[in-house]
Amino acid sequence: MTALDTTAVEPDARPATGLSATLKHARHVVTGNPITGFSFTLFILLVVCALFGPFLVPYDPLATNTAVALKPPSLHHLMGTDQLGRDLLSRVIVATRLDMAVAVFSVALVFVLGGISGIAAGYFGGWTDRLVGRLSDTIMAFPLFVLAMGIVAALGNTVTNIIIATTIINYPLYVRIARAEANVRRNAGFVQAARLSGNGEIRILLTQILPIILPIMMVQMSLTMGYAILNAAGLSFIGLGVRPPTPEWGIMVAEGAAFIVSGEWWIALFPGLALMLAVFCFNLLGDGLRDIVDPQRRT
């Protein structure tokens, strides 16, 4: 907040352009609120683990070594080992890529599909609106996780289908937001001006409506990333999508679940903690971004 105030009082402060503006805005976002700063750090850590995970880890995440099976955390194995003697730290780090990829792909997909159909529904109204509305109402008539289970069961038990299922269950949310934002602007002054100067409807949608809605949709992306990760991990926890021995947080918690009752807590705890932190990170990041993009909805 303070960064914004100082720029406002400087008499000859000109709006910075290009890269410097982006950097300045990023600094403002990160330093404005310590919690957002913290979640941003966490986000960087997640990205690094996702990109370079396999090169950073001390052990092969798939290498079994029964001599050190079920060992609690120690200096050699910071997170301990599982029932096959695999190093949990390595597995947790390597799993980041898969978990993040599922979330990123499904959120990107729903951003495009839900965003476009929502904007079209709000802008054109009429049958487009009814069609899109009916579709998302039908999806919302299901308990969402249950629908995701049904979709994955029907389409086949693969990671791609987990992405598709997560996309479908998030679809109504994106449609609703994009629709509402496009609807209030369909006859705004600048839209009418654009129309009057001879722009086609599609062109107005892309050049006038879309850029305004984009920031709000970005916030939504960050918020649903967390939900997408949870959803995918939940599906793999019940045995859908990812197959062992692939490292993935949900399935690792499921593998550790059997050992909780006999006291081997570390097998389930660390992947669960990683999962929690990732979701936490995106939720905080989303809240922080929303405070900046849309201060009225601040809670």
Binding site: R134, D137, T138, M140, A141, F142, P143, L144, F145, V146, L147, A148, M149, G150, I151, A153, A154, L155, G156, G226, L230, A233, G234, F237, I238, G239, L240, G250, V253, A254, G256, A257, I260, V261, S262, G263, W265, A268, L269, G272, L275, M276, V279, F280, N283, L284, D287, T299
Partner: protein, 337 residues
């Protein structure tokens, strides 16, 4: 009042139709051969042909849909391959277990979230407000199966306060004579307090897991709507008229603030019914969620489809009830209709 109920029932019909169409489509989009999928992994070509005929897959799509609807109307969801039982019977047998768990979880959550949200709103900025915020932020980030496992580790393995997380009753007890299917209520009807205590001991951890999960949205909405109501004109008038803070908060503000909370219940139920599946797996709870998970792993498709359909119909019914409840609490809705 009756016309409102009827009118609302009519609005549930499109959702129901949508649910049935989607669940029909889900069986038809199976990659590869639906019949061989339904027949199971170890079926002979004859068995597959038999299943194809039985399912009517040799007919046209509209014909298949008509047949599907007729079967549904007769309560026929097919048979489970692994147990050989009709899916409807198994779901009906297991539904009370899930229902008891979900309702108790929701009750726990409401019992904590509503007072917490109200206190956070009337003491805005105090420690209880911060506590509320922490619960809201961490609550939505916690994977429900992870919370369940943590509770098992803490209360079963470490402290030994809780029985082993294996189903609805310890092996030493027998189920109370069935009236409602809810062990807590049935054991009370049978005046068997020992069984009641045992059933409750098994229920507390899974129900608490579900409660922690749904605490976040409920307390967030309670706090938000309470804050909005406390700032409104009629509360100011009530205060200015010299009513006690207790009357203002509980009689004036609370009733109005409950409306958005009840609306959110629909969303909370959507989460709860999904989370139920995960919690049932963690606690080996013999409900419909674990039935579906077992069937999923065995590639036994009919129970999964029956489960998705049953859950969706249940959810539509719950939303209907929430809307009707809304009318009871808010007379304005009744007037409009």
């Amino acid at each position: 009042m009756r016309s409102i109920v009827l009118k609302r029932l009519a609005t549930a019909i499109p959702s129901l139709v949508g649910v049935i169409v989607i669940s029909f489509l889900l069986t038809r989009v199976l990659p590869g051969d639906t019949a061989s999928y339904f027949a199971g992994p170890a079926a002979t070509p004859q068995a597959i042909a038999e299943v194809r005929k039985q399912l009517g897959l040799d007919k046209s799509l509209p014909e298949q849909f008509a047949r599907y609807v007729v079967d549904l109307a007769h309560g026929d969801l097919g048979n489970s391959l692994t147990t050989g039982q009709p899916v409807v019977t198994e779901i009906a047998n297991r539904l009370p277990a899930s229902g008891e768990l979900t309702l108790l979880g929701l009750l726990f959550a409401l019992g904590i979230a509503v007072p917490l949200g109200i206190l956070a709103a009337i003491r805005e900025g105090s420690w209880i407000d911060h506590l509320c915020r922490v619960i809201v932020t961490t609550g939505v980030s916690l994977p429900v199966f992870f919370t369940g496992l943590l509770l098992v580790y803490l209360f079963y393995f470490r402290l030994g306060w809780s029985p082993a997380p294996l189903g609805r009753l310890d092996v030493f007890y027998s189920a109370p004579p069935q009236v409602t299917g809810f062990y807590l209520i049935d054991s009370l009807i049978a005046r068997d307090f020992e069984t009641f205590r045992a059933a409750l001991a098994q229920l507390i951890l899974p129900a608490a897991t579900l409660a922690i999960f749904s605490l976040a949205p409920l307390s967030r909405i309670t706090r938000g709507s309470m804050l909005a109501v406390m700032g409104s004109d009629f509360v100011r008038t009530a205060r200015a008229s010299g009513l006690t803070p207790k009357t203002v908060i509980l009689t004036y503000a609370f009733r109005n603030a409950m409306l958005p909370v009840i609306t959110t219940l629909g969303m909370v139920f959507s989460f709860l019914l999904g989370a139920n599946v995960l919690v049932e797996k963690v606690f080996a709870w013999p409900g419909i969620g674990s039935y579906a998970v077992e069937a999923l792993i065995a590639s036994d498709y009919a129970p999964v489809q029956g489960f998705v359909l049953a859950m969706a119909i249940l959810y539509v019914a719950l939303n209907l009830m929430i809307d009707l409840l809304y009318g009871v609490i808010d007379p304005r809705v009744r007037l409009e209709a």
